[in-house]
Symmetry: C2
Subunit: 428 residues, 2 copies
């Protein structure tokens, strides 16, 4: 946060932004830019509605002149055009890695890894939390909160610490130890809920209705529309990093399905407003077999999601009742993409393969994406000749337990040349 | 790595670089840019020797037009001016954070945190490994290796994976589990040595003399001069991020002491060659009480280091026989700086305080720096009115065990509003 303009009068949310309000994804009812996530008329999910003419004024040069983080895309977001409005760890502009060795291993012509573990708290959640809490302050909230499978908890607690704002984050009690310690270390309240993520989410929805939580912003509940928009930057960034070109195929991990729909939206939007040439990006969704309600609905040819009780090692994707599932299915269908699910063993092998070929150590969600990529190539759904981007959304250090049985020292020796010789280290 | 100039003939190490050779820090004997780390005449340590006139030609504009990573400083380094010569994960340009809340907590006027946990493998080691392995390829080596307390092992293994080069890394057998898994996941050989870091280091020195390791580059042993230069970027970056100004005080963690001496060198050099205004930066060194040979020698007014057997939680700093100790002492003395050492409890509290005030979760080495900062303020050695930069060199997720007893969920509840009420969550 910069305080250089602290004398400037406080602007309302949306001032100098292309966002003109909220719109229901279901019935198209419109609302002002308020703290609301579900339509009062049909209960459909709300999202930010933009003035297309304003979006179309944004130029490549304007973006390129911006900061080296997500805020370079602020002219395409509902908040953050003015630096002093940003409540942020300044995530973004994470590496887009030319994954030559992985492409070769999989028989692909051109493969990129978008590595969002490079964000400040090491997941893509820093993007959505930055847009959410920046909006929250504008909307008059004075405490940050979330329901989380871990990565979001880390990010909300860290954003609150940097901003000096109280926080209260809710997590399932059985998360990976790393994610628990990382959320707790920043201070603030950390509530372990004895239930699944979906239980945590329900509890948070109930809490938003209480007087005690009236000024608490649950980033992914009562201010969800502003949160979700942060994910758009993962589409725009890839386009910019490719030299303002769209890739031909992308593979995206799915929990709620929201990330995939927003990346898809960013690609469509960037072509519509002329930042990139028109082009169709085939969008593919990845889930773990332990929690695959979206991939299963896709496979069955329906868009009705049947909630499941999640299991398996890809805990950051374990949302059994995914709110944006139908929209993710629509994005994959409409672009000629697809979906697949992979087992825990395939996920572990995906983590290992990615690390060994790119130097990127991903959390299990990244393993889901690599394993899904492989599966979609084997089934012929994904074209090995088409330029492809896969998204790694989190850090391997957060899910060490999942792979610690897989790898370890290859040799153990006493500290002597003799011992090294006996261990075979001198036969290179 | 870019392959855009793959048709260009291979240049020798040092071509188009300001580096003119190696020079003995002790007796000033000079050498060509070869794979050598100790002086043949006096056994003193060698470092890269530059043509000052060439360095002085480097401009701010030239650097600012470079890439968003350490290679923008390539004109000041022995290798990497040409993009195709870089064997690298492209670390650097990590955040310099205006630590307002921490400054306030400690009664300081202006405090910055240089957060090098943002590098690809989440420590400053990516900087030194990038310069070392780029030089190694030029010098004809075909395998990357190191002796490591963990962070370096992670970085060498990841660099090797990205470059498609074999690696063999040596670590003490009792490292934090995170650092072991993170090094192993990238593939390559990982040798757990049943001894201390100093034992590991001795074994590696012996191995470099064997025929089987003739073409193996131990980044911090036989090509150490090129490795050490990477640390200079941590000085230049801070100067550039401050708007080409020098800070008044810095606090740097010490293991071998090399990082501190190179940051000091970068500040002196940047003023000498006109990239910044002349200015004296008071340099302070931080060690843990479990391994404080440099701080102890400083306190005793000597520059003779008495080796120790390291203990304590700051494992990444646990070098009992620190090669650059005397030079670190000289840097602190000559600038009117100082040194201090801190206990494990103070280190833990330092990690917690940094996280709670800045949103930066540091490994124990970062806790050492924050605790030392506090101690130097209390003793009056550090001026609270002077603009200060502290260096966090690693990631908290790598040393979770050290703080896991300190923090955890503040509440545990069943997933119901009733349970939340009973737990006192509705009395905000």
């Amino acid at each position: 946060m910069s305080n250089t303009h602290s004398a400037t009068p406080v602007r309302e949310l949306g001032a100098d932004s292309p966002a003109k309000g909220l719109i229901c994804r279901n019935c198209n009812a419109t609302y002002d830019l308020i703290a609301q996530h579900a339509c009062w008329q049909c209960f459909g999910p709300l999202e930010v509605d933009y003035d297309q003419a304003e979006l179309a004024k944004v130029t490549r040069e304007q973006i390129e002149a911006g900061p080296q983080n997500i805020w370079r895309y602020a002219p395409l977001l509902p908040v953050g055009v003015h630096p002093e409005d940003r409540v942020s760890l300044n995530p973004g502009l994470t590496p887009l890695i030319d994954a030559k060795n992985l492409a070769k291993a999989l028989g692909m012509r051109k493969l990129w890894v978008k590595d969002d573990s490079a964000n400040p708290t090491h997941s893509f959640k820093d993007r959505v939390v930055s847009t959410a809490v920046s909006a929250a302050i504008k909307l008059g909230f004075d405490r940050f909160a979330c329901a989380s499978t871990g990565n979001l908890a880390n990010s909300v607690a860290a954003h609150a610490a940097r901003a000096g704002v109280p926080s209260i984050v809710f997590i399932p009690h059985d998360l990976e130890p790393g994610k628990i310690v990382q959320s707790a270390i920043y201070g603030g309240k950390l509530v372990a809920v004895q239930g699944s993520y979906d239980d945590v989410n329900r509890l948070c929805s109930e809490l938003t209705e209480t007087d005690d939580f009236e000024t608490t912003a649950f980033v992914n509940v009562n201010i969800r529309p502003y949160y979700a928009e942060g994910s758009k930057t993962l589409g725009y960034e890839v386009a910019e990093q490719l030299g303002w070109r769209l890739p031909e195929q992308v593979v995206v991990p799915m929990a709620s399905g929201e990330l995939l729909t927003k990346i898809h939206k960013a690609f469509e939007e960037s072509a519509e407003i002329g930042l990139t040439e028109p082009g169709k990006v085939r969008v593919f969704g990845a889930q773990s077999a332990g929690c695959s309600p979206i991939a299963d609905a896709f496979a069955e040819g329906t868009d009705v999601i049947t909630p499941v009780k999640p299991t398996g090692i890809a805990k950051s994707l374990n949302i059994g009742d995914p709110a944006a599932g139908p929209y993710a299915i629509e994005a994959c269908r409409s672009t000629g993409g697809g979906m697949a699910k992979v087992t825990d063993d395939e996920i572990r092998e995906g983590v290992r393969l990615l690390a060994a070929t790119t130097g990127v150590f991903a959390e299990t969600a990244g393993g889901v994406v690599v394993a899904t990529l492989r599966k979609l190539l084997e089934s012929g759904q994904l074209d090995p000749e088409a330029e492809t981007v896969i998204y790694n959304t989190g850090e391997g250090l957060k899910t060490l337990d999942a792979v610690s049985s897989l790898v370890g020292p290859t040799h153990t020796v006493k500290p002597s040349l003799k011992a090294a010789k006996e261990a075979g280290l001198l036969e290179s």
